[in-house]
Point group: C2
Chain length 318, copies 2
């Protein structure tokens, strides 16, 4: 981050025609974007929403309300422009890129084997890293993958402790029996992989999924390419959480767009010290919560870059 740019942005905020602090988090956002874009007057000309899709072997355990083939069907729906994220990207003035990661080939069933080999994991991370356009002013991450709230629950159980029951939720809408199957799957995975899960990257490889690995890679790519990051829901947050576990401040370039109705998401955000911008009861994934939050960032910069100062407007200070 660029501390000088952040300082200059904060100073500018205090000259604008409003009581100091009265734009609340809009002011914080302007300073945050200045810090991570490295300029006192940041911009959101080019905003990229990256949606990664993957298939999950654990679906065979009955952990989702939808059949596994819906992942591929939804990738086709993204391509045809019919999904929620297509509409939300357009409304937010963002480019949408969908990156399917071998969706025809599910990961290993992590309750009893590694989700990915080292090579598969590295490949997915690299695809995520490379998907981040160097010219982006902001990158927003999203995902699609039937079964992936169970993978996310397994990852955060490995990272933050507690059994399956602490981290599973209804996902796309499972009933109570489905919830129990999800918790059992997570507990089985913890037992199967044991202490190898203590390493954050190993956890992501062993009990995560390709789209989670790719989001991790994209978050790393954004950091290296000096691009601020907007994260979405539970699965996305679980995927990038290893960055914070590997290094203090590893997610300092990230804003949380929306806290999901999936109860575990709030717990993960709290573990990471991230305060979501929105709480609209959404639980769709696809980057939908982050996409809605883009307009909050645009509002923040509209004020930051467009408002008159007290001196310019001839308004008396307090």
């Amino acid at each position: 981050g660029d501390a000088d740019a952040a300082r200059a942005a904060a100073e500018r905020q205090n000259t604008l025609t409003k009581p100091p602090g009265s734009l609340g988090r809009l002011e914080e956002i302007a300073v945050f974007l200045a810090q991570w874009q490295g300029r006192a007057q940041p911009a959101l000309e080019t905003v990229d929403i990256l949606v990664f899709a993957g298939s999950h072997g654990v679906v065979a355990r009955g952990v989702s309300a939808f059949p596994g083939e819906v992942t591929q069907q939804m990738v086709a729906n993204f391509a045809a422009g019919g999904a929620a994220i297509n509409q939300l990207a357009k409304a937010a003035g963002a480019r949408l890129s969908v990156v399917p990661l071998e969706v025809e080939r599910p990961t290993g069933d992590f309750t009893c084997e590694p989700a990915m080999s080292n090579a598969e994991f590295a490949d997915a991370v690299q695809k995520g890293y490379e998907a981040v356009p160097a010219d982006a002013d902001l990158v927003c991450l999203g995902e699609m993958g039937i079964g992936n709230t169970t993978a996310a629950a397994a990852v955060v159980a490995a990272l933050f402790g507690g059994g399956g029951a602490r981290w599973v939720g209804r996902g796309s809408g499972v009933d109570d029996a489905g919830m129990r199957r999800k918790a059992d799957a997570v507990d089985a995975a913890l037992a199967c992989h044991g202490s190898t899960l203590a390493d954050p990257l190993s956890a992501l490889r062993l009990v995560g999924g390709r789209e989670l690995a790719a989001m991790f890679g994209a978050a790393l790519g954004a950091r290296h390419k000096h691009i601020p990051l907007l994260i979405d829901g539970f699965v996305c947050t679980a995927a990038v959480a290893p960055l914070a576990r590997l290094e203090t401040g590893g997610l300092a370039h990230a804003l949380a767009g929306h806290v999901s109705a999936e109860a575990a998401h709030g717990k993960v955000l709290a573990e990471l010290g991230l305060r979501p911008l929105l709480d609209l009861g959404m639980r769709l994934g696809e980057g939908s919560g982050g996409a809605v939050a883009i307009s909050i960032l645009r509002a923040a910069l509209a004020c930051h870059n467009g408002m008159a100062t007290f001196a310019e407007a001839g308004v008396s200070g307090g």
Copy 2:
């Protein structure tokens, strides 16, 4: 409200390619707009932000961090395009109209006399009513008026009970002594006007202000013109609250855009049963919180009107 349109919108939501309910409040917003626009696929082609400005005799009591002349200076800043609401209206794709209400002539000091005569009150209400364009798809209310958080506190104290200390806050940034002066002003007003404040319209006239009366009139106008209403912060909510006190459901056509950092706002929203869409720590007024929320409504309709159905997309249901 149009119950048939609302029902048709809710049915449409359940056919779209997402787990039912997974767009959370975006789904509720689509149904709400259908109900109050009277069509199953509502639109936000024409969105009007109406900002009413007024001056307050109570400013002489030292209730604001800013001098009273700032109201007129800010009206000039609105006209020049330099204020926060100018930028936020542009970012939200909304028309902005600023309606100054005799800003050169402050209301009576309501701690010891009526803020407005009957004729002055009726005139301000009518100006608000008439400011609502008949062709609007949505109206968002805002205000500017140095001293008006004290007027708003007096109005809600009259409507909901409790003394000044329950309802005053820091407004544009007063210190502890300023807070005490605000609470004293409200208590003096309650003592001065006594039981005449029991009638909600009398309360608005006696201890409100011209811009509050105009927002009340605009909220009434929106209801009569079949236009859904987006309300902003503490002062705006206090101004329209009499509608709900006069008639159950009198504010059913209103969404709360944002809960202010001014602590009393959350209490008033709770009294009215309104759940704000945003909580971004803003406390500026001008319609700024409502303006930011407009993009949430746009996101809701982008999904509602633009998404493919399960049948159209060939996606398997849950």
